[in-house]
């Protein structure tokens, strides 16, 4: 298995990498169903093979450069529901290196310190299933 450089992991919108990103993150989470009862001998028992609340969260932080995400987040008429996001892993794999799906931008923020460049961060959560290809 080839290790991947972090800078090669890209979040793209409509096929174009979001500019200025210094750190991109991807988290998958879900909650198993707790079926513990008096017969569980004090141990947690989870319902086999069943998950609830499965969701993927994508995040980016970096130096604001192209206003793409800002223009979406700061526009009150936008629904923040994005159907053209793609996350590419940094391993340059021949297969299973790209995630696509529908995502909500749940958070966008900028910071403008007087002794540095304008930085930004954004968080996206999946809606429905995503695809790994």
């Amino acid at each position: 298995m080839a290790k991947g450089a972090g800078r090669l992991a890209l979040l793209k919108k409509a096929g174009t990498a979001i500019a200025g990103v210094k750190v991109s993150t991807m988290d998958c989470e879900g909650t198993p169903i707790d079926v513990s009862d008096q017969n569980s001998s004090g141990m947690v028992q989870l319902l086999a093979g069943v998950f609830t609340g499965r969701q993927m969260t994508l995040g980016v932080t970096g130096v604001e450069a192209d206003e793409v995400l800002r223009n979406i987040a700061a526009d009150p008429s936008q629904q923040l529901y994005l159907t053209d996001l793609t996350f590419v892993f940094g391993n340059a794999l021949a297969a299973k290196d790209t995630i696509t799906g529908d995502f909500f931008m749940t958070k966008y923020g900028e910071s403008a310190a007087d002794d540095g460049a304008v930085t930004f961060s954004a968080t996206f959560v999946s809606s429905g299933s995503w695809t790994l290809t």
Binding site: R7, L10, I18, A19, V21, K22, S24, G62, A117
Partner: protein, 135 residues
């Protein structure tokens, strides 16, 4: 393919020399030296140290975080003329613009400045920080 490190530092110093030339005093990147080892530079003058650059890249862009020391050198017993010259450097550089081939200035600002008494002459050290990205 051009060496990115060389090209950004070359562009950076060339832009600074052009900018500081507007003060009307000699601007050196290498100060002229007499055969006996003494200074052949005209006083007062401005001298640029070699810049120190660290990577300021993102996933999609090349960038540099540059520290540049600008020395204002003058002779005499008074601090005043040199400090006035340091103020002129500040007026030109602090939050100013630089025209660089192949690179774009994001930020340029003073970090610190101080004067050292060299005994008969003074060295006014002005340290600036610049953020640049490849254009």
């Amino acid at each position: 393919m051009a060496d990115i490190r060389e090209s950004v530092l070359t562009a950076w110093q060339a832009a600074l020399v052009d900018k500081l030339a507007g003060i009307g005093k000699p601007v050196y990147t290498v100060r002229p030296q007499a055969a006996d080892g003494g200074s052949d530079a005209d006083y007062p003058h401005i001298h640029l140290d070699p810049p120190v650059a660290t990577a300021w890249d993102t996933s999609t862009e090349d960038g540099r975080d540059i520290v540049q020391r600008v020395h204002v050198r003058w002779r005499g017993q008074s601090l005043v003329p040199g400090q006035q010259l340091m103020a002129e450097v500040y007026d030109l550089l602090h939050h100013g613009d630089l025209e660089m081939t192949g690179w774009r200035l994001v930020l340029l600002q003073l970090e610190q400045e101080f004067v050292t008494d060299l005994g008969g002459s003074f060295d006014g050290v002005c340290e600036y920080r610049g953020l640049v990205e490849k254009s």
